[in-house]
Symmetry: C2
Subunit: 314 residues, 2 copies
């Protein structure tokens, strides 16, 4: 928890303290009271800037001068590019083909150099190795990094400070950086509150990994929640095993439905990955009935031509 | 201004005090500092509930028992339906065919009875007369009503209280209820601040009316800003003539562009009518360069299948 408090101090001049919103209509629909921490309003449109900024501003001068590099399906790439610009250093990112064009554009706009690769974890890691050999840049892993995890934990820290009596906190899980940071913050600040992850049914590698007691890699699943396709890392896995009560899943149709409800009822733009926790609540109503539930809306970066409820994009 | 303060007291238990948001990226784009009053987050998704609630809660018991009726392209209808439900009385609304299905659905969900009519002002007024003859309901006009105008003025009152040193305030103008109420509030609270209306180029009846010195009726123009198709009323016209500095216009493409920028950069859902003031600022950069400008984002009720940037809906 000390790491998360340090991260909060380190990044506070750069990131927004995002609002926590409620929506009566959604509360009625799900029979629970939901507190949405709106990281879709965060700088660069997602919580990822918290971890990236903490990692970049933790580098020594010597490290920083070498620049930073990463692989990411999008939001971490944009976040790292922006954090590097703030510190005035170079950023290089490997992005899988098929990652959101809006996210690719954002990364380029923040001044990073982008290398596209095949959409597999192996290709991403190989691309990153090549890039580091060529540039000497310091790798900032999108989630399997203690500074990144501490930074991501600051969102849940703010949520717990603002809404102290939550009974459960639910966040999306891809590589596990947000879930790991959230679980550390919540178990320290509100020890009685259960922390759960939410992931797409077709990308349930985190759920299966927790059940098996070892990391089961994701095989780049075809989910609309494009931020949640990665596998857990050894660091995130060990933290999640220790602090997280369980992982819930939601089908693709219910993720699209939850996303649409958030847009229509809350009048805010969230990306599919951000809607997965609400979809999981709606798919498991008995678990949450009458309870006070915190959800981190992880991001709002979405291609406005490719919305899941438009027939031609299915 | 006393009417607006009375309205604020009367409705405060029912409506949200909506946030004022800023967006650095948009400020850089337009070279001005914009303060967005987010009535898209308002109850029933638009500022209209302010006027409707003020009118409904100003009725005598005898009047209230007769129920209320109106004609509206959508947001006033939903607002009146909701305000009537709060007071526990009947609401009847005449809506033009072609008004947004999302808005028609909202009206029905709030428990009002809906009568569809042709999409002309004459047909709407005839439909309303028939309805009142049949039901005896009290007509709450969508904008040409002193209580409605006073209610709408509460949004600008809140904006001026929160951001006291605005140099200009810009709001969309259809029938003129919001613009009239805004102009009364701003001229009372910040006498040095100029108030301007913004309307689609293809629906520029308010601009032409001000120039001509008499109301020039709108001829149900085909604009994507479906909330701005009405003509001024004698009451709104006389207030606007007195207090408003001018009316700016924006083309359909620039309205769609401004709407998209708000969605992408602010991560909030606004309807096309709400984007007209920003479109007008972007179309008249010299007028606003370096200034502090308040904009009321009038509403967020939009059909998510019919977005102006999707080719098949153009």
């Amino acid at each position: 928890m000390g790491d998360i408090r340090d991260a909060a101090m380190r990044i506070q001049a750069f990131v927004h303290r995002t609002p926590v919103l409620e929506c009566r209509t959604i509360d009625r629909m799900v029979g629970a009271r939901i507190f949405f921490k709106c990281e879709n309003f965060q700088k660069a449109g997602a919580f990822k800037i918290r971890g990236a900024a903490n990692a970049v501003f933790s580098l020594t001068e010597e490290e920083a001068n070498r620049g930073v590099a990463t692989h990411s399906s999008g939001n971490h790439a944009a976040a790292l590019a922006l954090a590097a610009r703030w510190r005035g250093i170079a950023a290089h990112v490997v992005m899988p083909e098929g990652s959101s064009p809006a996210k690719q554009k954002a990364v380029a706009e923040y001044g990073a150099s982008v290398v596209l690769c095949e959409a597999t974890l192996e290709a991403r890691e190989r691309g990153l190795r090549d890039l580091v050999e060529r540039t000497g840049a310091v790798v900032i892993h999108p989630y399997n990094d203690a500074k990144v995890i501490a930074g991501q934990g600051t969102a849940a820290m703010e949520l717990c400070e603002e809404i102290p009596d939550l009974e459960a906190v639910l966040v999306p899980v891809g590589g596990g950086g947000l879930l790991a940071g959230t679980s550390i913050a919540v178990s320290a600040l509100c020890p009685g509150t259960s922390v759960m992850g939410a992931e797409p049914e077709v990308a349930d590698d985190a759920r299966r990994s927790l059940e098996a007691g070892r990391i089961i890699p994701s095989t780049y699943p075809a989910t609309i929640a494009d931020g949640l396709r990665s596998s857990l890392g050894d660091l995130t896995f060990s933290i999640i095993r220790k602090h997280v009560e369980g992982i819930l899943t939601a089908g693709e149709v219910s993720i699209a439905h939850a996303m649409r409800i958030i847009w229509e009822r809350m009048k805010i733009v969230v990306e599919p990955s951000a809607a997965v926790p609400l979809a999981a609540v709606m798919s498991n109503p008995a678990l949450f009935s009458g309870r006070r539930v915190g959800i981190i809306l992880s991001g709002g970066n979405v291609d406005l031509e490719r919305l899941p409820w438009l027939p031609r994009t299915r």
